[in-house]
Symmetry: D2
Subunit: 299 residues, 4 copies
Amino acid sequence: MEDKTSVNSPNNAWGRWGPEDEAGALNLIGAAQVKRAAGLVRTGEVIRLAQPLSHKTPVPRHRSGLQHFMGRDGGDYAAGARRPGGFQFAEDTVIMPLHIGTHIDALCHAWCEEKMFNGYRETTMRSTSGATRLGVEKMPPAFTRGLLIDLVELRGRPMQPGEVISREDLQACLAVAGLGIEPGDAVLLHTGWLQAQAGNTDIDFNSEPGIDHAAGFWLAQQDVAIIGADNFAVEVLPFAEGTVFPVHQCVIRDFGIPLLEGLMLEPLVRTGRKEFLFVGAALPIVGATGSPLTPLAVL
Amino acid sequence: MEDKTSVNSPNNAWGRWGPEDEAGALNLIGAAQVKRAAGLVRTGEVIRLAQPLSHKTPVPRHRSGLQHFMGRDGGDYAAGARRPGGFQFAEDTVIMPLHIGTHIDALCHAWCEEKMFNGYRETTMRSTSGATRLGVEKMPPAFTRGLLIDLVELRGRPMQPGEVISREDLQACLAVAGLGIEPGDAVLLHTGWLQAQAGNTDIDFNSEPGIDHAAGFWLAQQDVAIIGADNFAVEVLPFAEGTVFPVHQCVIRDFGIPLLEGLMLEPLVRTGRKEFLFVGAALPIVGATGSPLTPLAVL
Amino acid sequence: MEDKTSVNSPNNAWGRWGPEDEAGALNLIGAAQVKRAAGLVRTGEVIRLAQPLSHKTPVPRHRSGLQHFMGRDGGDYAAGARRPGGFQFAEDTVIMPLHIGTHIDALCHAWCEEKMFNGYRETTMRSTSGATRLGVEKMPPAFTRGLLIDLVELRGRPMQPGEVISREDLQACLAVAGLGIEPGDAVLLHTGWLQAQAGNTDIDFNSEPGIDHAAGFWLAQQDVAIIGADNFAVEVLPFAEGTVFPVHQCVIRDFGIPLLEGLMLEPLVRTGRKEFLFVGAALPIVGATGSPLTPLAVL
Amino acid sequence: MEDKTSVNSPNNAWGRWGPEDEAGALNLIGAAQVKRAAGLVRTGEVIRLAQPLSHKTPVPRHRSGLQHFMGRDGGDYAAGARRPGGFQFAEDTVIMPLHIGTHIDALCHAWCEEKMFNGYRETTMRSTSGATRLGVEKMPPAFTRGLLIDLVELRGRPMQPGEVISREDLQACLAVAGLGIEPGDAVLLHTGWLQAQAGNTDIDFNSEPGIDHAAGFWLAQQDVAIIGADNFAVEVLPFAEGTVFPVHQCVIRDFGIPLLEGLMLEPLVRTGRKEFLFVGAALPIVGATGSPLTPLAVL
């Protein structure tokens, strides 16, 4: 597999970090980015950007929700369970789809034409093994500068289902904040969508605000390491006519940039901080296509 | 519930942060601790301290291991699955006991005499709801100073199953490193146990090196926020005669300090750094007694 | 526990089959009933009375549906999986709530006043063990005379949600068919409800036709061994004012008669046969409160 | 797909019941077989042939065992759960591999050369759908004559791991019993293997007594509908040199005969009856490769 750097082949990042690379754009977070990000900590406030995970966590209809089972609990003792030496404990198990709540898409989550990011073939991923290439356990943790791009602030209202975030929208937000994207940044998009679904027990997952292909491509050209949003798919739904998940195909498959979906951004938005230390580390589930996680903004 | 500070009641921390507190010793990580911890980043190296999660991740016999199922994978496309607009994707589900691999014990995980930390009753935790008090979703993320206490270095060899880490051992390690514990620290103990189990398909989970009650009590008195180790239960197994999980009872139940078990410490040990930024954030699974996570050491 | 036979204590069957009995009314199926039932086979037609089980099988909102995962499938081979000696195979796993589709309620499924059928205490059933008394594995298989009681035929139309099947309705159906209930019979009630839900993706499980308390009590007095129906709970929903699942309490808890819910009766109805050999055997899941099964009518 | 009857093509039964058939040898159980089988009931004794299902049910290492979770149980009420109108109930969920305990192999369970029984292609079975051809829900219930072939009686001792049941062994057993196989019979083989594993927590699933290819082929030529045994795979393990699951390939794939594995035969053996009514009905799990079930022998 020949090296095709972004200079020579602007349409993808295959080969940019070598033919055996499985980390993709997370390679853009080097020691310099880590150190710079640590230097952004000023007030010492730590904000969790994750939704609670329970059977109430919304999932689209084709997925089952989370199930949480107590294998041993307080009720068992109330009913007379033995307490050796007075000791009591409880334990539990979850059944959990991996693209639930606040989660990251591994680079094996989406592809086309039988090939995943960096040219890995779809046949490397089977029922028996999961993904032997680009599994979520291959993703380095992200400890980098986070940028909040607040479309709600720009629009002066929550975005509507189906409303596009364009490249110009992103640039306008950054200009207002006086910030520019730098390589390795985690860019977090605030659309207001998740907040607007609060209490909705029949969420329409087929219609949401998000970026279009041009906006995704532009972010990829800026060498961002992660793109996150407070929606279900980062990209606008429904897609532009004649396309299917075009941002997933461009960003994940072509450029190796993981998407961070279902972010809970309101507590961060309320602080007014647009630049911060971002920390996100997936569970290292071998061969998985994604993972729930608890990303942090440290102010 | 009256306030019983550690000054007035040195035997526990119940009431120390108010009668409704569910965060326990993680309260000891305030803005000052966060800022100071961020300042420890020097080289920009980020180290994951988590074991890979798969059906091979060792669990004791009374627990089932992790199961990972592909709901849609590359093989399905190889067999002819439809690709609308060329788009392909994969998704998956795990069945996962929450005390598996590298995981944190929530404060509702262990107790005695029908009462959990801060006096919450065991009857607050049922099959139907999980833990309504002290669930893992109530644990603030830990972003704080991490200290590596290297017992393997002290002994000059990996510790043996059943071998005690005493208070004096902890103090000796700290003295060698020229470090002192400060309130809010995450203390990580390197015993060599996990490393020694590599390739062992029939691990004895009933015998391992770890701290005894006196060492746990001393750490609690130092106001540590988290105690972690590269073993299964942090504390020494088997227990001292006549006791059952005495460290769990003292540390979790009396002092509200979460235990971080199953750490993968070798990569950190190899760097020689004993003081670093520690970051750990559990999955916010509502009512859960623990959570796998991917803790980071940032150097 | 003293013997309280139905003669002396007509309000329940506790003690009727001894203080340690866990089989309840299934005890009424003795060798004579089995032989007589076998003699009902005339045409040799065998009809399955079970709904298909899949993620589409309807469940009320508080339960998760069935999940079916392929651990190894044809797609894996299409993607290149190894075929030692040419051999290929597939295997799979289900996550299945036990009260789904066509299923039987074990005698530990419903109770009141802390006591289950035959006086067993609720504390015999815990998270750690399941039901140590009256679990579904304690239910003998049912091989007995089946009687179809066709309320749709009686009414001349499918029954409506909330419509009561009274004792008089049962008697009227039997009179038309020229049949009488005998001890040990499996009585199957055709309401038309399940058929009416075909294609409904938002079934209201809180409103359905079914028997009221008087009808249930009368059936119990006739010494039936099983009561089944083509609805969700056998009994009418909503309940009579001031009661909660009164038929479950009377039939299961007081008389030890298992309920067979979610029957698919249309194919049997179409044959016109009202009396037949009924066969039903639950999965012997230790400590379970119920089990899906595939009951048969043999004509 | 042309019809290849057993007369014209003795090496398989593809096409014998038409090109769209998915029932295979279960087609051999017609009304005459059902009526004749019902006539075998003499004493009215009903014997369950199934192992209990629990986390203790043995499974080979590559499969996870059954997990049983209480979603609501007696302990919850002991801890104070609400009892509307006095009503109490419990419910539960299993995670269950489908080839566990006493189970039947669907005709899609094993194949070779990309084709399953009757020529269906392996690509009809994917992660997303399960088996769209030959799934266990396509198997008609078995209500037919059962024959017990008692190899333990023949040998005068339990069979040993790796010991072959030959065609001649089968014929010798039948001769002693004065019985002959007839089309549609369910043939059950008693090896003593399961009984010998009682209490063994580390069963070797790679070595067991069972039939060889010649014995399987001979049974298929006799037009049996089902072959069952009290072992893990019906066929002898290890296989004959140079073959892999040859009986599965011949019996399931070529002749469409389901295998019934893990039978609990001792209670039947003790009665001395060799000919009886056999009843077995799988759970109709859509697209599944097998199903636990509770087969019955009615004497």
